[in-house]
C-alpha cells in the first residue's frame, strides 16, 4: 500500500456534533400538521382462536379517526411479505381468526393523540378460545405436536426422525462423515442451547407516513435500508415503488432489526385510510412482544478428532426456534467456520413456535451456531490436552488474502496467552467467529464544487460512522482534506440505489462505489490541471486541496481553480459516479479472549478482561472499527451472561422490558481491549473488509470456557446465570 493522508486516520464522525447537541433528528422527533398517532391492539394469548372482534366502542371515541382490522382490509391487502431478513415471511397484517403469538396485532387505531388511541384500543372487544402453546422447539417437532400453520407437512429429517412444524431447512454435506468418524480416535457429542435475544436498539421502531390525494406515499422512518423499506411497502400494499418515497431519518440503532415491515406498513395503511399523516412509535414492551429478535437454538453437535488434534468429521443437527416466521437455519453450516474439516454433515431446521417472528441480529445465527461449535472445540482441546489457541491454529484453513491464524495469534499475544496467569476462581476463555461481508448493490455520485470541496451523495443510511468513512475515501482519492467533503443522504426519490446498512457490507460495497466516483473526479481534475500547469498528467500530485507538479510544489493550482476552469471547459463541471455489486467479498474472523471470575457461593460471573482482535483488511477509520469491535464484543458476551427472552409455558413473555431483560451497563463491564489486524483484501476499498458483524460471534463460547477454566464446569445452556452456575457447581460437588 502507498501511504495515505486520510485513510487510516481517526476522523471524528461527521454527525457527532449534531448528536452531542441534540440537533440530530430522529423519526419520533417529527411533528407534522394534522398528524395522528397510531397504536395497536395485541393478543394477550400466545395461541388462541378469535371468536369475535367488536370495534364499535373504539370507533365511537371522539378523536378516533380509524380502527383497522384484517376484516376491513379484505380485498385490499391480503398479506405482508417480509423479504428483508433473508427470507420471505408471509403473514396477515392482523390476526383475524387465530392468533399465533402473544403480542400479535389484532387491530390498529389512529387518533388525534396517543392517549385517545390507547383508550380506544382498550375498548375493542375480542373473544378468544385459548389453545395450548408451543414454546420449545423440541416440543414443536414432536409427532403429536399441535400444528401452528395450516397446511404444514411433516418433514423427514436427516437423523431419520419425522419433524412437525418445520418452516424450512438448510443442509450441507461434504465428504463422508461416517468415514471421518470411523477414522477418529475420539468422538464428542454435545447439545448446546442459546435463547432468543433482542437487538435492543435504544430507539424503538418508528415510522411516520403521509399519503397525498393521488395516492403517493411519503414515509419517514428509522431503517437500515430506505430502499428495502420502499420495496417492502410496494409489495405489501401493491403500490408501485416510484409512488413511494422513503426518507431515512437518523437511526437510533438497528443491529439487523430495522429493515421495515414492523411499523411502516401500518403507518401507511392508517394514513391511506384517514388522509392524515400518521406516526407510530413502538413502546419497549412492543419491541419485546412483536419486533424481529434473534431466534433461539438447540444444536446437537458431534465431532471426531485424531489424537494429534486434527478434526476429521463434524455433524450437527439444529433446531432454530424462529417463532411464527423467520429463519436461522441458514447459519447452521457456520459450525465448519474457518476450519479445515474434510467431512461435514450439517442439518438445520427452522421450527415454528408460538412466539413472535424473528429476524436478523448482527451476524444472524452466528453467535448461536458459534457457541455450539466453539464451546465444543474448547472441550475437545481440553480433553486432548492441547491449548485451545494451538488447537485452532492446528485446524484453521489458510488461503490467499486470508490469514486467520494471524488474527488469533495477535489477540493471544496481547494477553501473553501462553504465560497467562489467574487468581482463584478466575479463568480464561477464547473463541473465534467468522463472517463473510456482503457485497450488495451500491451507487454514489461525487461532485467537485467551485470552492474545491467535494460532495458525496448516496442513499446510504449511516449507523456506524460509514458517512465518515465515505468522506475519507473520497478525500483520499481526490486529495482534499476530510473537512472539505460533505456527505449527503438522499431519499428513495432522489438517491441512486444503496446497499442496506447491514451484512457488514457498507464500507465494502458503498466504499467501492464512492471510490470509483471519486476516481472519475480525480481523472478529470488531472486532465484539466495538466492543461493549467502545462505539465504531464503523470507528473501531478493531488494532495492538501491542490494539484501540484511533482518535485516543483510551487507549480500548483487549487482544486477550486480546477473546478472553475472545468466549468468553462467543454467537459463542463466535474462530477463522478460509481457503482458496485456482487464482486468477490472477503471472509474475516474476530478472535476473542475473555477473563472472568466466578463467585462459587453465589454463582455470579464477573468479567475481568475482554480482548478482541479483528482482521479488518484496512481500517479506513480505526476509531470506527474499534467502536464496532467494542460494541459487538459486549453484545456477544452479554448474550452469554445476561440476555434471554424468557417465556412461560403458555407462551407469554416473562421479561418484556429493560428491568428484567438485562442489557449490560457500564458498571457491568471491564475495559474492552482491541487489536486491529490489517491484511488488505484485493476487492475492498483500500483493502478494507466489512467489520460490523464478526465481533459479536465468539462471545458466548469464550465466556463459557472462561467459566470452565475458573471453576471446572462445562455449561451447555446460555446465558450463564448465577442459578445455572450454582446448579453446575452443585452437580460437580456431588460427583456427577
Amino acid at each position: 500500500m502507498t501511504d495515505t493522508a486520510v485513510i487510516g486516520q481517526r476522523v471524528p464522525r461527521l454527525d457527532a456534533l449534531d448528536k452531542v447537541t441534540g440537533r440530530a433528528k430522529y423519526t419520533s422527533d417529527l411533528k407534522l400538521s394534522g398528524m395522528l398517532y397510531g397504536t395497536f391492539l395485541r393478543s394477550p394469548h400466545a395461541h388462541a382462536i378469535i371468536k369475535r372482534i367488536d370495534t364499535s366502542k373504539a370507533e365511537a371515541v371522539p378523536g378516533v379517526k380509524a380502527v383497522l382490522t384484517q376484516a376491513k382490509l379484505a380485498g385490499k391487502v391480503a398479506k405482508l411479505v417480509d423479504e428483508a431478513h433473508g427470507t420471505t415471511m408471509d403473514f396477515l397484517a392482523f390476526a383475524d381468526t387465530k392468533v399465533k403469538y402473544q403480542g400479535e396485532k389484532i387491530a390498529a387505531v389512529a387518533a388525534i393523540s396517543r392517549d385517545i388511541a390507547e383508550e380506544a384500543v382498550r375498548l375493542i372487544e375480542v373473544e378468544y378460545e385459548v389453545l395450548p402453546a408451543l414454546v420449545d422447539s423440541r416440543d414443536a417437532v414432536r409427532s403429536d405436536a399441535p400444528i401452528i400453520h395450516e397446511g404444514e407437512k411433516p418433514v423427514k429429517a436427516a437423523n431419520g426422525e419425522t419433524l412437525r412444524n418445520v418452516l424450512r431447512s438448510t443442509d450441507r454435506v461434504e465428504g463422508d462423515v461416517a468415514e471421518g468418524f470411523a477414522k477418529s480416535d475420539q468422538i464428542f457429542e454435545d447439545t448446546y442451547i442459546v435463547p432468543r435475544a433482542h437487538q435492543s436498539y435504544i430507539e424503538p421502531q418508528v415510522a411516520v407516513a403521509e399519503v397525498d390525494p393521488s395516492g403517493k406515499v411519503t414515509c419517514w422512518t428509522s431503517t437500515q435500508s430506505i430502499f428495502g423499506v420502499r420495496n417492502n411497502l410496494s409489495r405489501c400494499l401493491d403500490i408501485p415503488p416510484h409512488k413511494i418515497n422513503v426518507i431515512g431519518m437518523t437511526i437510533g440503532g438497528g443491529f439487523g432489526a430495522k429493515f421495515g415491515g414492523v411499523v411502516d406498513v401500518y403507518a401507511v395503511l392508517l394514513a391511506q385510510l384517514t388522509g392524515h399523516p400518521v406516526k407510530i412509535v413502538y413502546t419497549r414492551e412492543e419491541e419485546f412482544l412483536d419486533a424481529r429478535p434473534a431466534p433461539g437454538l438447540v444444536m446437537t453437535i458431534k465431532t471426531g478428532v485424531r489424537k494429534d488434534g486434527k478434526i476429521l468429521a463434524r455433524q450437527a443437527f439444529a433446531l432454530w426456534d424462529v417463532g411464527v416466521q423467520g429463519s436461522g437455519s441458514w447459519a447452521t453450516p457456520r459450525v465448519k467456520g474457518v476450519y479445515d474439516i474434510p467431512n461435514i454433515d450439517v442439518h438445520g431446521y427452522d421450527i415454528a413456535t408460538n412466539k413472535p417472528p424473528t429476524g436478523a441480529y448482527r451476524a444472524p445465527g452466528g453467535p448461536q451456531a458459534s457457541f455450539a461449535s466453539e464451546a465444543q472445540l474448547n472441550k475437545i482441546a481440553n480433553a486432548l490436552g492441547i491449548d485451545p489457541v494451538d488447537f485452532r491454529l492446528l485446524n484453521m484453513r489458510e488461503g490467499r488474502e486470508v490469514d486467520f491464524k494471524q488474527t488469533i495469534r495477535k489477540v493471544a499475544e496481547k494477553v501473553d496467552w501462553w504465560n497467562r496467569e489467574k487468581g482463584p476462581n478466575e479463568g480464561w476463555g477464547v473463541a473465534i467467529g467468522e463472517w463473510t461481508n456482503g457485497n450488495g448493490p451500491s451507487s454514489a455520485v461525487c461532485t467537485l464544487q467551485e470552492d474545491g470541496s467535494v460532495k458525496v451523495f448516496s442513499g446510504l443510511m449511516d449507523i456506524t460512522g460509514t458517512d465518515t468513512a465515505m468522506a475519507q475515501i473520497a478525500a483520499e482519492v481526490v486529495g482534499v482534506s476530510v473537512d472539505r467533503v460533505a456527505v449527503t443522504r438522499g431519499d428513495t426519490n432522489s438517491a441512486p440505489i444503496a446497499v442496506a446498512s447491514g451484512g457488514s457490507q457498507v464500507t465494502f460495497s458503498m466504499g467501492n462505489a464512492v471510490r470509483r466516483a471519486a476516481v472519475e473526479i480525480r481523472e478529470r481534475v488531472v486532465e484539466i490541471a495538466a492543461d493549467l500547469l502545462e505539465a504531464r498528467p503523470d507528473d501531478l500530485d493531488l494532495r492538501d486541496n491542490k494539484v501540484s507538479v511533482k518535485g516543483a510544489p510551487d507549480r500548483a493550482v487549487t482544486l477550486g481553480d480546477v473546478a472553475k476552469a472545468a466549468s468553462k471547459s467543454k467537459g463542463g463541471p466535474i462530477s463522478g459516479k460509481g457503482s458496485f455489486a456482487n464482486e468477490p467479498s472477503a471472509t474475516t474472523i474476530a478472535a476473542l479472549i475473555v477473563k472472568a471470575e466466578v463467585d462459587p457461593i453465589t454463582g455470579k460471573v464477573t468479567l475481568r478482561r475482554i480482548v478482541q482482535s479483528l482482521d479488518c483488511g484496512k481500517a479506513i477509520n480505526p476509531m470506527a472499527v474499534e467502536g464496532q469491535m467494542e460494541g459487538g464484543a459486549v453484545q456477544g458476551v452479554a448474550w452469554g451472561l445476561w440476555e434471554q427472552m424468557a417465556y412461560a409455558p403458555d407462551g407469554r413473555m416473562l421479561n418484556p422490558g429493560f428491568l428484567d431483560y438485562h442489557l449490560p451497563t457500564a458498571a457491568d463491564l471491564p475495559a474492552i481491549e482491541t487489536v486491529l489486524v490489517e491484511i488488505p483484501t484485493d476487492n475492498g476499498p483500500f483493502g478494507a473488509k466489512g467489520v460490523g458483524e464478526p465481533p459479536i460471534t465468539p462471545g458466548i463460547a469464550a465466556l463459557q470456557l472462561a467459566i470452565a477454566d475458573a471453576v471446572g464446569i462445562d455449561l451447555h445452556q446460555a446465558p450463564f446465570t448465577p442459578e445455572r452456575v450454582r446448579a453446575a457447581l452443585r452437580e460437580k460437588a456431588n460427583g456427577n
Partner: protein
C-alpha cells in the same frame, strides 16, 4: 383538564398547558419542542430521557411535569454555552463516544452531573455514575474514555 405551568429549562421559562399526569418527557418534547431528550423505554430503565433537575440526573419519563415546576432543568440543548461546546461534548466527538447517538444526550448529562460533583472520578466511579444510561452500540469503552478526557481537560483549565 389542563393546567398552566411554567417550566424553567436551560435558563428559559416555558409557559405551557398540561394535564396532571403529563410526563416531564412529553412536556419537554411535545410542548417545549426540545427533542434532544429521547424516549427509549418509558420505565426509567434506559436513561435516554435523562435531564438535569437542579443539577441532578432524573428520568423525565418517570417524572410528572407538574413536579418539575420550580426546578432548574437542563436538557442537552442547554449544555453548550455561548456557542462553546462543553468539554464532555467535545470529547464525546473526539474520542468516538457515540455511534447511533440516541443515548448520547442522556449519557452526556449524567456525565456532567458526575463531573460537577466529582471533577476527577476514577473509571469505576464513571462506570457507576453512567450505569443508568444504556448504550447498545459502543460497549461503553469510548464513552468512558471521553468522560476521562473531559475531566482531565477541565482539571487543566482550572
Amino acid at each position: 383538564m389542563k393546567s398552566p405551568i411554567t417550566l424553567q429549562i436551560n435558563g428559559q421559562d416555558y409557559d405551557i398547558f398540561i394535564e396532571g399526569r403529563t410526563r416531564l418527557l412529553d412536556a419537554i418534547r411535545e410542548q417545549c419542542d426540545l427533542t434532544g431528550v429521547k424516549e427509549g423505554c418509558s420505565t426509567g430503565d434506559c436513561g435516554a430521557c435523562t435531564v438535569l433537575a437542579d443539577g441532578k440526573p432524573i428520568a423525565s419519563c418517570m417524572t410528572f411535569a407538574m413536579a418539575a415546576q420550580g426546578k432548574e432543568l437542563m436538557t442537552i440543548e442547554g449544555l453548550a454555552q455561548n456557542g462553546q461546546l462543553h468539554p464532555l461534548q467535545e470529547e464525546f466527538i473526539e474520542q468516538g463516544g457515540l455511534q447511533c447517538g440516541i443515548c448520547t444526550p442522556g449519557m452526556i448529562l449524567s456525565a456532567k452531573a458526575l463531573l460537577d460533583e466529582n471533577p476527577n472520578p476514577t473509571t469505576d466511579e464513571i462506570r457507576f455514575a453512567l450505569a443508568g444510561n444504556l448504550c447498545r452500540c459502543t460497549g461503553y469503552q469510548k464513552i468512558i474514555e471521553a468522560v476521562v478526557a473531559a475531566s482531565e481537560r477541565q482539571a487543566q483549565s482550572v
